[in-house]
Amino acid sequence: MRKVVSVSLGSSSRDHEVVAEFLGQEFIVSRVGTDGDFERAQQLIRELDGRVDAIGLGGIDVYLYAAGERYALRDGLRLMECARFTPVVDGSGLKNTLERQAVYFLRDRGLLEPGTRVLMVSAVDRFGMAEALAGVGCRLICGDLMFAAGVPYPIEGLEELAKMAKKLLPEMAKMPFHMLYPTGKKQEEKAANAAKFAAYFEQAEVIAGDFHFIKRYSPDRLEQKTILTNTVTQKDVQTLREQGVKWLVTTTPELGGRSFGTNVLEAVLVALLGKRWEEITAEDYLDLLEKLRLEPRLERLN
């Protein structure tokens, strides 16, 4: 049986393990959270190196994208470099393909149309999704500055995002990751400044992007909203239902009662492809996704 492990800087309370079959091959897919402990994550990757088929990095990105430019996060690279034999992926390769398709999936079902107001809580970690949303005519507000840096400035559209990214990301990518993104216990808490951003959630019809940002900053009520995200647990689904969310869409399918991160699925695909990560193309992922017949999870909550 093949084995894929996601090492996450997130909370260990979200740990999970399932056995799943992909193209006739059985996989043990597990997620191990280190509660924000960076050194423990490094150690774990070193221990898994050469002993599993692929490693996913959860709760952290290695690569961010905006308008054709790629920015590498220093802490993400440090984790990636802990493995010498086993491929380590952060999900960014798959996000660029799978998450675009999720947008078209929603459009085809009438859940997105030109003019739909979308709050994308963070776009540089899901540029494929952001680009697809803009491409189908959505009115896009990107919350990258609000939720990663606490700056109450909504970025309107991809052109402005690219300009900001060019100015800010080369330096911000050097910052300790915990300053840019909630890790460990912070993932379980509401942000102290959440009220400052509530209006952006209220004005949006669709809230898209990283679930930890959504969870940390969303107001109590999300009546009739569509949430387009990833990595939700059953408890998260229940909370969204209580908040009044109408549709929940996760870009990866449900496995064993939850949606795993794109890093997990990318790790599975890399193991199936048997190629070096650097050699894998978007077409490789698309071909495999078609063979696997993976579709986003779409669930009506209210």
Binding site: L145, A149, K166, E171, M175, M179
Partner: protein, 119 residues
Amino acid sequence: MATHEELGECLADFRDRCNADPQLRRLLLDWDRDILVQATDADSSYVLTVRDGTVYLDHRGGEVGRPDVTVSAEIALLVELFSGRITPTEPYLNGTLKVLGTEEDVMRLDFISLMIWGE
């Protein structure tokens, strides 16, 4: 060695650049702060005050009661930083620049300098 006057000139330029940029002023609207800029190797300190998106510079650095943020480093480094010749990230990470304040305030200061001088 850089002087108190040179640091003052850089900070005045920093203030003017912030105030001349409508986008940056908008980004500072929610961030009223007293920022003490203090040299560790010279008798030199200033206060940058941010109120309603406008930045003010005060020369009475030593008299500020309780700054929200304290930025301290050798005077030459402060001059380099506030003139945009270097970015704050590396010196902050290697400890030659100390910023006392919340993480959010540290980020915001970094952000302001990148908005002014970023590529």
